[in-house]
């Protein structure tokens, strides 16, 4: 699904140059569940942002679904992103002013999907993650686990080819964390490709492949026995 070759991301200020990613080579196949691990500041989130086209690489090649995307402008990246990628964040990133249903619907607003179909898809996905009974609630009225389920629903509703999860359990207690991980596992089993950044070895065990990073490089990869 995606191939990265010599992908680098360097942040420059007037006085300092920081290499966040240093010539990364990484392939991820369709249907994989990949966990990315490493200490804070090793470049996990930067890698995920590049993968999700939220950021652009300083150099290297990034082929997504057979097309080179490294040199695309912001508007083209937005097009590729919204057609193919769903996001789940550690801090949920729900819009406080919108209800649960509206937050989920937001992911379809920028697709050419009619209002009736949007409503139907939102209901389906809410049922799927078990949040339908909270459809009219505001995020602030939900528990952390429930908020993350809304975020998952939002990531799923546009039926993306790839789901990127940035420490999806980081703000959750153990029970809610496990609940979210089981949900991701279930999604993967039903065909979704998932790349997840995590600090938790236990949660990394849900993935089929674990990529360990250090100082902006891939230190090692290990596949879980099937």
């Amino acid at each position: 699904m995606l191939q990265m070759r010599g992908l680098s991301r360097i942040y420059r200020t007037d006085t300092v140059e920081t290499t966040a990613l240093d010539a990364i080579d990484l392939d991820i196949a369709s249907g994989e569940f990949v966990a990315i691990m490493g200490p804070s500041g090793c470049g996990k989130s930067t890698l995920l942002n590049l993968m999700g086209m939220l950021d652009t690489p300083s150099s290297g090649s990034y082929v997504f679904d057979g097309k080179e995307v490294a040199g695309l402008n912001e508007s083209r990246l937005a097009e590729v992103r919204k057609a193919n990628i769903g996001f789940i964040f550690q801090s949920f990133n729900l819009v406080d002013e919108l209800s649960v249903a509206e937050n989920i619907e937001l992911a379809l607003l920028y697709h050419k999907v009619g209002s009736a179909e949007r409503k139907s898809r939102v209901e389906t996905v809410m049922d799927r993650v078990g949040i339908a009974h909270r459809a009219r609630h505001r995020p602030s009225q939900l528990s952390g686990g429930q908020q993350q389920r809304v975020a998952v629903a939002r990531a799923l509703v546009a039926e993306p080819k790839l789901i990127l999860a940035d420490e999806p359990t980081g703000n959750l207690d153990t029970n809610h964390g496990e609940e979210v991980m089981r949900m991701l596992q279930s999604l993967n089993r039903s065909g979704s490709t998932i790349v997840m950044v995590t600090h938790s070895p236990a949660h990394a065990d849900y993935a089929g492949r674990v990529v360990n990073m250090l100082d902006g490089r891939v230190l090692q990869e290990r596949r879980r026995a099937a």
């Binding site: 950021d55 919204k82 057609a83 964040f89 990133n93 729900l94 937001l106 992911a107 920028y110």
Partner: protein, 815 residues
Amino acid sequence: MINITGLAIGLAACVLILLYVRYEQSYDDWLPDAERVFQLQTLYEATESGGEEMNLQMSAIVAGRALEKDYPGQVENVVWVRSFSPVILQDGQASVTEDLRMVDGDLFAIFDVPFVRGSAANALPDTHSIALSESEAQRRFGDQDPVGRTLTIVDNNGPVDYRVTGVFEDWPEHSSFSADAVARFDLGAQFADREYALTGWNNQQGWNYVKLRQPADAALINERMPAWEKRNIPDDVGEGGTTNPGDFQDYRLTNIRDIHLGEAQAASVTPGNDRFTVTTFAVIAVLVLGMACVNFTNLATARSSQRAREVALRKVLGASRRQLITQFLGESLLVTAIAMLLALTATELLLPVFNGFLGSDIAVTYFGAGGILLPVIALTLVVGLAAGLYPAFYLSRFEPAQILKANKSAADAGGSGQLRNVLVVGQFAVSIGLIICTAVIYGQTVYARTSDAGYVRDGLLQIENLGYRGVDGRDQQVVEQLRRVPGVEAAARTQIAVDPGGNSVSRVYRTDSMEPIDLGQYSVETGFFDAMGMKLIAGRDFSNAIGRDDSTTPFPIEEAAERAFAERGANVIVTREATRRLGFTSPQEAVGKQLRSELTQSELGLVPITIVGVVEDARFRSLRAPLQPIMYLMRREGFGAIAVRYSGDPARTREAAETVWTRNIPQVPFDGRFADDIVREQYEQEAARSQIFAAFAILAVIIGCLGLFGLAAFTAERRTKEIGIRKVLGARTRDIVQLLVWQFTRPVIIANLIAWPAAWWLMRDWLNNFDARIDLTPVPFLLAGALALIIAVATIAVHAWRVAGTSPVRALRYE
């Protein structure tokens, strides 16, 4: 910064307008004993015969005399001031003093103005004495002492020498009276050949000023006025029946301080104003200041997200709510005080421009009786507290635990967003309303200047001063020579011209009715309609070859000639409006019809007249005045002006006309003005007001936009995370811009819905003051709405682009 700038603009506008309002309301306050000085005014009621309602500041000579006679215990002094500017000869040179006031008594016993030479008590000891203003003395005599010098006034009775007795300080601008010179003349001798001027109750040629004794009660005198009128005003007995001028006239004593904004504004000494305009300006001042306060409140609550943590920390460290409220109110007062300092600087800088616009001499003084220091301090306190009160209570109520626990900087309490929206709607409603008003006032002013007046303004030169004694009948040779000037197509003398000062009305009767119809009655000579470019729509023009066309009778009056005229009758030309008033169904129907009119002494009866022609209506006066139905008579003398129709270079024509005038009448100054300029002057005040209105509309829009700009900035910041999320989910920059722009255009659209009906109602009332007016179409409303929308979108689009262009990663890290 936005807060201080917005508030400073609002305060400057408010201070300027309030200075103007106070200036308008303080006319004649400076005059010693102002509470005892009154003007006797004449109020004409509308009559069934078509007489218009008219409130005159002038009153008949006889009225003042009768008042003095009937109230000896109350009236201390009555002086009649004549509306007349004769030629003055100084060392043989003819000149005119713009505001020469001819008075029949000691005016300075009523107007106790300060003197720089001589004294008020001795300035007008007898007839043939004259006092000059400081500027006039300087203009005429330079640095020499003018007291004792002689000025010769060429009045109706010929040249009369006047001795200069004193020099008074220039009359203050904010006065309903003005004078460059005051000359005491012999009233009896002056009107010896025109006794009707002394005795006629319908003869208003000047103003009666009355000084009451200390305990006298003007209200009581006014209350008794109807009985006094009945007692004093004699019947007019004529062929048309017996009438009494008192039936449609009322008299009233108006205190000098109430003249400028009073009900009676016709025939005023200095241009007056109306309370509606002054009140409107005061309301605008309050609205503009309100808008600035709203900005302050809006931005302060919007910034609450930034200050929540500070409030929480202060509370944790022991600050009470009262202390926090005091802190925030203190900040608000400090900001207002700084804004006020900027506003006062701006006011002082702008005041000369403002004065230039309005022709006023408003000055800023901080100390003393008229000082603005105390009002300014009061305004600062009121604005500081009004603007700061809500934010102070709002910010100080944050719960520290909640804010610190949530580790949030944003603590946007529910409801405040709604309030901000309501305030933005209010601000834009005011701005849109002012834009609409400006557009309508401007449209009406342009219409007034350019609409078809019934005569052709282009290529028309008007020469006045024909009424001066020094002309001595030589105006006829002037007009004959003018007709031979290259480029002059027609020239004719007339009693009525563009912007006439006087009004002459005669009663006309149909042969089958004794119901009088009031028509304006003016003398013109042949060629007048051609010179004015007026269209003859039925019948024929006057002809010198037809004896009955000529209505000239000798002056001074000769009994036999008047009798012959009354028997012979006259041919007249009337306007379209006159035919309508007379009951004819068309101008053509009126031609050849016999009527009767009061054209000579009442004892000689009504004069038979025949309509020989009908001309199109012409508006000689301002559009505010109703269209007067007119009957033109052809005469060979008694004119006030010459209308000159020319083609080619205006300056050269005027120069040639001046040469002709000066060659024939060197004793009287040439006064030739183009009709375009006269009309422009007629609407100068309206134009100035529309410009001031426009300036305040622009100010209101600027203040509104400053507020919107600040709000957009804070909202964009507050919504940074949301924008990031939307971008992650596929929103393009333009989607985000659209989202933010729509958030702020919605209140502007709602503001239109509030502003439109209010402005429509206001402008409909204002336009009703004009006899001819523009239609109140949707165009200014739609334009104002569109303009406000464009300005609002442009204001927030800058922010929207900046925020929408931010990388979503950075946006999501925001919190």
